[in-house]
Symmetry: C2
Subunit: 158 residues, 2 copies
Amino acid sequence: MGEGVEWAVHCCLTLGWLGDDQPVSTARLAAGYELPPAYLNKQLQALVRAGILTSTAGARGGFRLGRPLDKITLLDVVTAIEGPDEAFQCTEIRQRGSGAESPARSFVAPCAVSTAMRKAELAYRRALAAQTLAEVKVAAERHVPRLEDSVRRWYGRG
Amino acid sequence: MGEGVEWAVHCCLTLGWLGDDQPVSTARLAAGYELPPAYLNKQLQALVRAGILTSTAGARGGFRLGRPLDKITLLDVVTAIEGPDEAFQCTEIRQRGSGAESPARSFVAPCAVSTAMRKAELAYRRALAAQTLAEVKVAAERHVPRLEDSVRRWYGRG
């Protein structure tokens, strides 16, 4: 997993703290976390494609949340940034070499190795889907006094 | 995740079917799944380092299971092949840019984003740890008639 997920979740939280009154540019979001703007912009565009953010063009354009943080799960963000593919990719090696002698009907059911790995990935995805960004925001605020005020001030939203 | 996990789990199952009477060479295991021997050997050496396999040098040398399949979990194999690091790596971007104004004590507790992601990875690891290779072997045998006989015959173990 690349840094994209970390960046994307933090940017969504920031947009949550700023509210949706005016869009925030890539340059500002990048400066807000000292990230490379061009690469961050790729992640933000992926969030737009997934409907997590909306973007406005123009000199005063930028990004807003596409829906409230309690309607965005960690799975939404991970899928938007990393893609929908599972980490474990079965290449059906069971059918090769020594397996080539087994009758074709042996391979109708999914490979037991793949099934076992997918079971674990399903547990991962379920745990991601069970957590909304609203909950992550509350957890972040618990440890940093006046975090929302501090972010709003930094972005000039007083 | 690379193909290494798929290869490693299948090779362990094969060694389980063959029993531990004589070691199996990299060349034979590679041929048994039509895999590139040099790259497969790297995965097998990683399993040896993790204690999942043992290796014997020499012309008649090769690999045996280091312990029974019911004492090897999917997590053991994934950790041996992919390493112990979690997929999500927190780089503490919360402390940069807008975060730099917060007092140092704000960052004593782990980042909420990291905590949330780790919760999901823990669910993944728990699900991997809950499945032994003995269970995967039983599931594989359920769909392929006389799988053990077929593998033993291919490896000349009649």
